[in-house]
Amino acid sequence: LNEPLLWERGKPGRSAYSLPRRDVERKALDERYAGSGPDFPDLSEVEVIRHYTRLSQWNFGVDTGFYPLGSCTMKYNPKTNERQASLPGFAGAHPLLPDELCQGVLELMAHLQELLAEVTGMDAVSLQPAAGAHGELTGMLIFAAHFRNKGENRTKILIPDTAHGTNPASCALCGFQAVPLKSNDRGVMDPEAVAALMDEETAGIMVTNPNTLGLFEENIKEIAEIVHRNGGLVYCDGANMNAVMGIVNMKDIGVDVLHLNLHKTFSTPHGGGGPGAGPVCVTKELEPFLPVPRVVREDGTYRLSDDFPLSIGKVHTFHGNFGVLIKAYSYILSMGPELKKVSQLAVLNANYIKERLKDVYHLPFDRPCMHECVFTDKKQQAHKVTTLDIAKRLMDYGFHPPTIYFPLVVQGALMIEPTETETKEDLDRFIEAMRAIAREAEEDPERVRQAPSKPKLRRLNEAEAARRPCLAG
């Protein structure tokens, strides 16, 4: 079934909205300001419902099937979390209610901060950043505020080649210059390389750990010491926290600032592009710089306080993506200490896939991996089958493809992150599909190159889209 664009539907005069009764007089707006209103289509309720019901059917979500998108932690999103976030007491709460009228949400925020501190091992938390990259920005702002407070002028940040793509941009926004750091042949950072680069103009390092190769940065402690010795700070991108909950205490390994992606590790749904939430966790030393307002407790009641003179200020208009925070809170309360099991099973699933596929796909780093594993198309290249082809062909088998061509440090990367919520049976089905595709690449490569054939559309012309952008209808 096809579905026209919204404005190709409808007729002027229809409405899908129940207009409230007019119980006051009409007052004309001053002509100088009065406009004619937007050119929106008028639809009836059933037209709206059918439009979006059909659109939804063209989408692949976690509820549809296995979604091993590397670095995105596409775990199952529990339905009970949706119930909690939609409670009228939360959904209908104005962000500027007087403290005494919003004790419920303040308690929730305080408690969630404590829980995230406990999970990460860090000392203090701000829930304000609205996404992972927003957390990075907040972290970099804290770096900047810290050095400003100390009267130091540091302008550079080390960023390893296995870090997430947003990291350099977040640095740049804060005026830092990103200094690339090459990983060694084990796929991790080298202490010597860090030592060589770490100087008095360098504010610190921004690592992703486990890194984007799915490997734990085994020298992190030593590296943190080098950075600290040189007066720098260690930022950790915690997007991959799903691998190490209960296994690693981030403060103990030398991390000063860490952001979390609640929409990855803590199971809040990603919504086809957000909203997410990117809380920032810091050490006691950096706590004064956290965004305001912060929840404080006094005499058994909570209130919001702006009274933190060293704070970087506000990064969000109000208190962050609160609805997302509720879902993560609900998840953590549902799991409790089982969060360690989450990481163990996530790592087990990734290693299982790695072991079962490494004879047919090239594995650039043949070591135990964490929550994800990275293959390449090296073997398939011989038949002129690329990572892109493999990814598209997976759709025909009913799976969402892995992350592709990332990390950049590996040519033609296929980055597979199964997460802990997948059954062994589904992993086995995926493994079979991947093996079948490897066979097809040898025996019938054209079939793989022509994939996908089952979805609504075949491959889309992305070059044309970028050359002549058509961004509105």
Partner: protein, 444 residues
């Protein structure tokens, strides 16, 4: 645990396949020195039913719009949300998908966002809108940073003091480490922005004006645009209540170069201020300087129309530190919600709903004026307005809480010069009876 499917048998056979003896052994790659030594002190898992009870308890301790009459706006608006929108959003094909990197199996999200971009551009009177920013405040910050990319080599922006103060604080945070300056423009006696001084500001990249502004007042954007362009600056028009554009001229039609603001009003619950929706639009010529994701229309191998993420050459994974912004996850589902809401209202509906908001606000304004309040500002307003309260109102304000009424936002903390002034917001959710009750209460 119902989210963890592994049976002991599964674990045993999988461990065998990977050649490990235990789950602990899987972490051989984490050096001993990096292993967590301290024990968890996380609370025991709650059952689904205990969780429900716990959350019900927390939610019950809120003065939510469900059971209270809350006359607050200031960037977060209580509007009726049709059950259709809530239902459609709940469909997990939308909510449990990631950013649509694989267009063949993401046409639902992609077409939905393309439609959002289109309706947003039409609403704001602009050529193109992006797929969303975090919220109104960060959208304004990004808009001002974008202005530097447009104007090059300038280093100063001016922002009206009548712009939402929370937005201005976010701008300040974003600007702090950049070396760029923010100049605050004063407010005239009528409640609108005084732009007379901008000609004298050197190196001026952009000027930001909000309309309706924080005081609810409508700015004369056309005049503002002329003044700003005369000063050689980019005209950034910002908003916190997009419903206004149902009856108020769009910022685009008044000459704005970048329009940005908060879209929560359109179907997104207030939810203590988030998730919100940063709406962001500009003119065609600036599209490659715009931050954020974009969905574009194209065709597939067989020539059928379809949609893809496009112009990603502006983004971090390609441009890294030279990207137009660091934004990656945005507020996709909130944008989808806004599109559903705009489609539900339609052109006819948005005009009438906006008019109703205006008229109800006017009704309360008149009632309060008759009850002894006074109006500091003369500019026309949409669904928010500032009044100076009669002496002793602070006690009345507190007393009204007993009747589950929050009678406006005291402005003293945000604007010391407006001590004793309150910002009232009235939307379609209040009936005439509600308004009469409030007027009666403050009169007695």
């Amino acid at each position: 645990m119902r989210y963890l499917p592994h049976t002991p048998d599964d674990v045993a056979s999988m461990l065998k396949a990977v050649g490990a003896d235990s789950l602990e052994e899987l972490f051989a790659g984490v050096p001993e020195a990096c292993r967590r030594k301290d024990a968890w002190t996380l609370p025991e898992p709650l059952t689904e039913w205990e969780l429900n009870a716990h959350m019900d308890r927390l939610a019950a301790r809120m003065a939510s719009a469900h059971s209270w009459k809350v006359y607050l706006g200031a960037g977060s608006y209580e509007h009726h949300i049709p059950s259709t929108v809530s239902y459609l959003l709940g469909r997990s094909e939308f909510s449990t998908a990631y950013t649509p990197y694989q267009p063949e199996i993401s046409q639902g999200t992609l077409q939905g966002i393309y439609e959002y971009q289109t309706l947003t551009a039409r609403l704001l009177g602009m050529d193109v809108a992006n797929a969303s920013m975090y919220d109104g405040g960060s959208a304004l910050a990004e808009a001002l940073l974008m202005a530097f990319r447009i104007t090059r080599k300038k280093r100063r922006v001016a922002v009206s003091r009548a712009v939402n103060p929370f937005y201005r604080r976010v701008v300040a945070t974003y600007f702090e480490p950049t070396g760029y300056d923010v100049v605050e423009l004063p407010v005239l006696a009528d409640g609108t922005t005084d732009l007379s001084g901008i000609g004298g500001i050197e190196d001026l990249a952009a000027v930001a004006v909000q309309s309706p502004n924080f005081f609810g007042c409508l700015e004369d954007l056309e005049a503002a645009g002329r003044a700003i362009h005369d000063a050689g600056a980019v005209f950034v028009a910002c908003f916190s209540e997009p419903l206004a554009f149902g009856i108020v001229k769009s910022p685009g039609s008044q000459g704005a170069d970048i329009v940005c603001g908060e879209g929560q009003s359109f179907g997104n619950p207030q939810s203590f201020g988030g998730p919100g929706l940063g709406m962001f639009a500009t003119r065609q010529e600036h599209v490659r300087k715009m931050p954020g994701r974009l969905v574009g229309r194209t065709t597939d191998l067989e020539g059928r129309p379809g949609f893809v993420l496009t112009l990603s050459t502006r983004e971090q994974h390609i441009r890294r530190e030279k990207a137009t912004s660091n934004i990656c996850s945005n507020q996709g589902l909130c944008a989808m919600t806004a599109a559903m809401f705009m489609a539900t209202l339609g052109g006819t509906g948005i005009r009438e709903l906006a008019q109703l908001n205006h008229d109800k606000a006017e009704y309360l304004k008149e009632g309060l004026l008759a009850a002894g309040f006074s109006a500091p500002f003369a500019a026309p307003t949409f669904n928010e307005f500032v009044l100076k309260a009669p002496a002793g109102f602070a006690d009345t304000w507190k007393r009204l809480q007993q009747q589950k009424i929050v009678a406006g936002l005291p402005l003293a903390r945000l604007y010391p010069e407006l001590d004793g002034h309150y910002l009232f917001c009235v939307t379609e959710t209040k009936t005439r009876d509600d308004l009469d009750a409030l007027i009666r209460e403050v009169s007695s």
